[in-house]
Subunit: 413 residues, 2 copies
């Protein structure tokens, strides 16, 4: 069953509000096994809405709209559908009664405009609105099913969950389960990752595979359809196993896992503590680590050491190291990781130094040059990066790289 | 000129990501005087994308797309347009060269896939991508103009602002000026703010006034249309002056100003330095301060002191203060601000301690209780907050409050 979502409203066309209705509906309908293949947005204009709805009726089995069920003359969604499908509109007395009660309960005056909200296309199923005045409607017409929902998200969501989804389950005899799992990877670009698993991507069936680049992570989403949860799980497990053979070393977590959450879990599991000395990331890595509830169990603390004086005084980087190699060097990163570990008495220490830009470059040390060191019982490892881009991007990429090196170091212990 | 925005990508259809590109483009294009009358979303499927793009070409003069310019086989947007308009694709050598350099500069390996990104429809205008690998293209074909932009928002926005809008201005001889100015406020809720300026909001004409809540800031956007820049500027200035009489104390900056940028400017102007001791914010405030280029001129450094031991050892909070009042107290915040200022030898010190949750609450000290102290030549001020919400929200709100207190302290010096 092909679904098109049509969202209506001038605020959407003008870009004044973000469209959250379309993704909400898309997610829920996809989970039920419907194929949401088109989304459209159009304003409250009779000609253009007719164009959009008739195109939708031609290419989709189910058309779900939001918006345009209000009391004003500009609210025309139901009327356009009625005209397209050759239905008369009539006043639905139970709905009018509900609207009257809605106003009475709030001691508000109902205007004549609101009567418009009780106008329904002939033969339509009426969906009561428990959170507002506009009823929803479902019009069945040949191969098409048109579902009109109100625009305010809390009204739409309630009606979708409590009226529309039960209707669709019942009408289309929905059996079975859709199961998704996301494998989160870091360290390979999208095309390199795809290259490694391309035979599975190309020949995908059930489960499907989707690659999604997200802030320098690549997420691999597996989605299986099956008649039972156990069967769907088995399908996912099988494919996941084959993918892990190819890209396992880059998979750091699943579903909602973040790098900092995985680092935290591994630190907790191995009963290890960590301290950081951050220069170019300016506290960003520590802020991410402390986004995780309970991080006080393994994070002792951090020194953000922007100046050389603080690197020496608060972290213990020898002045000689700074003088010989400069603040941005493998040696300084190493001394920062070793120093903070020793000062704060932790199992692990992380040192990060680099040039976030746009200023600060010197000959041989361009903007984006970064050193990350991890110190611990297995010695100190240091890594060089050369990022490009804006300051915030370099900070972000450096933070991810640091979290990933910390994760890998812990895994080897 | 009628515009249709076509956003592409399976993640959008599945509802996995929110579509922020469409409203951004819609807002900017409407400001220029174009009528964005349709928005569509379709996946990376040749048949369906052909349907959607040919419908768009029929009903709109200008079709702007995002997405589908990547290196994979699923990236087909340009190819579908070329086929619809009867254009051959050719390899655009300057773009290939740019892509090669992009990979070389990052010491990454370019795969053959990436060559696909340099394939361009015959006769198209190529838009260099300064933030990624995929060039944009503009294809002029009879009454239609098709503009393909990359999907990642930071790439799309940069290309729209720097290449597409100048092109459209030039091509369509856009006269007149639209001028916008944003007044950024912090410290009042949206409805309280609107209440203070409601007569201007209600009776708005030219300039228009729009209130926008953004991460606990409220932005007031003034937009004037006029025949010249000077005239538009005068309209904005007049209204801005009247608004400042009502809400001036809450306005911390304009347009792209952030609290941390304003704090930085004021520190620089007064030649002051600052150091921070962060507990519950975990480095977030320092990370925001160091998002500003050149912040090393006024930020000495920070200690993130999650444990009491580090509060004492690295910040100098007396053990007696911790014992008598607890880590989350006005006294500890004060000792943190004074201590870090003294240890790091700066003009100003900031101390932040609180309970970000979800754990950590004790009787009398609920989750969300936060103390922020600012220490400096005018003495030490301390403020108590009781935020509610999730951990990340409490961190974020605390960071904003701390930056705002720091800003206010500097203003009084």
């Amino acid at each position: 069953m092909i679904v098109e979502i049509v969202t209506t409203g001038t605020e959407l066309l003008l870009g004044q509000i973000i469209n959250t209705n379309a993704p909400y509906m898309a997610r829920r309908l996809n989970e039920l096994g419907f194929d949401v293949l088109f989304q459209s947005t159009v304003g409250d204009n009779r000609v253009r809405m007719t164009q959009v709805l008739s195109a939708a009726l031609a290419r989709a089995d189910i058309v779900v709209t939001t918006g345009g069920l209000g009391p004003t003359q500009g609210d025309i969604t139901k009327h356009v559908t009625a005209e397209l499908l050759g239905r008369q509109m009539y006043r639905h007395e139970p709905s009018l009664e509900r609207i009257r009660s809605f106003f009475a309960a709030r001691k508000l005056t109902m205007t004549d405009n609101n009567i418009r909200q009780a106008m329904i296309p002939e033969g339509a199923i009426v969906l009561d609105n428990e959170r507002g005045t506009a009823p929803g409607v479902i019009v069945e017409a040949g191969k098409n099913t048109v579902i009109h929902l109100p625009g305010p998200p809390h009204e739409m969501e309630h009606m979708l969950e409590n009226s529309v989804i039960p209707y669709l389950r019942d009408r289309f005899g929905l059996q079975g389960t859709i199961l998704s799992k996301v494998l989160r990877t870091y360290g390979l670009g999208e095309s390199s990752l795809e290259e490694r698993i391309k035979e599975y991507v190309k020949n995908q069936g059930n489960p499907t595979i989707a690659l999604l680049a997200r802030n320098a992570e690549i997420h691999v989403r597996l989605t299986a359809k099956a008649s039972s949860g156990a069967e769907a799980r088995a399908l996912i497990d099988g494919l996941e196993g084959r993918l892990r053979e190819r890209i396992g070393e880059f998979i750091f977590g699943e579903d909602e896992d973040t790098l900092e959450a995985v680092v935290g879990r591994h630190l907790l599991a191995k009963k290890l503590t960590v301290a950081l000395a951050e220069s170019c990331t300016g506290g960003l890595v520590t802020s991410r680590i402390t986004d995780v509830a309970g991080s006080s169990a393994y994070l002792a603390g951090t020194v953000v050491c922007y100046s050389n004086e603080i690197k020496t005084a608060a972290v213990g980087v020898p002045e000689a190291v700074l003088a010989a190699h400069g603040a941005v060097s493998a040696e300084t990163a190493t001394a920062m990781a070793d120093g903070i570990r020793s000062r704060f008495g932790t199992d692990l220490g992380v040192g990060i130094t680099g040039i976030a830009g746009p200023g600060g470059a010197v000959p041989g040390k361009p903007v984006g040059m970064v050193y990350i060191a991890v110190s611990g019982p297995a010695g100190t490892s240091v890594f060089e990066y050369n990022f490009t881009g804006q300051r915030s991007f370099i900070k972000h990429r450096t933070a991810l790289a640091a979290l990933n090196h910390l994760r890998q170091y812990i895994d080897l212990l």
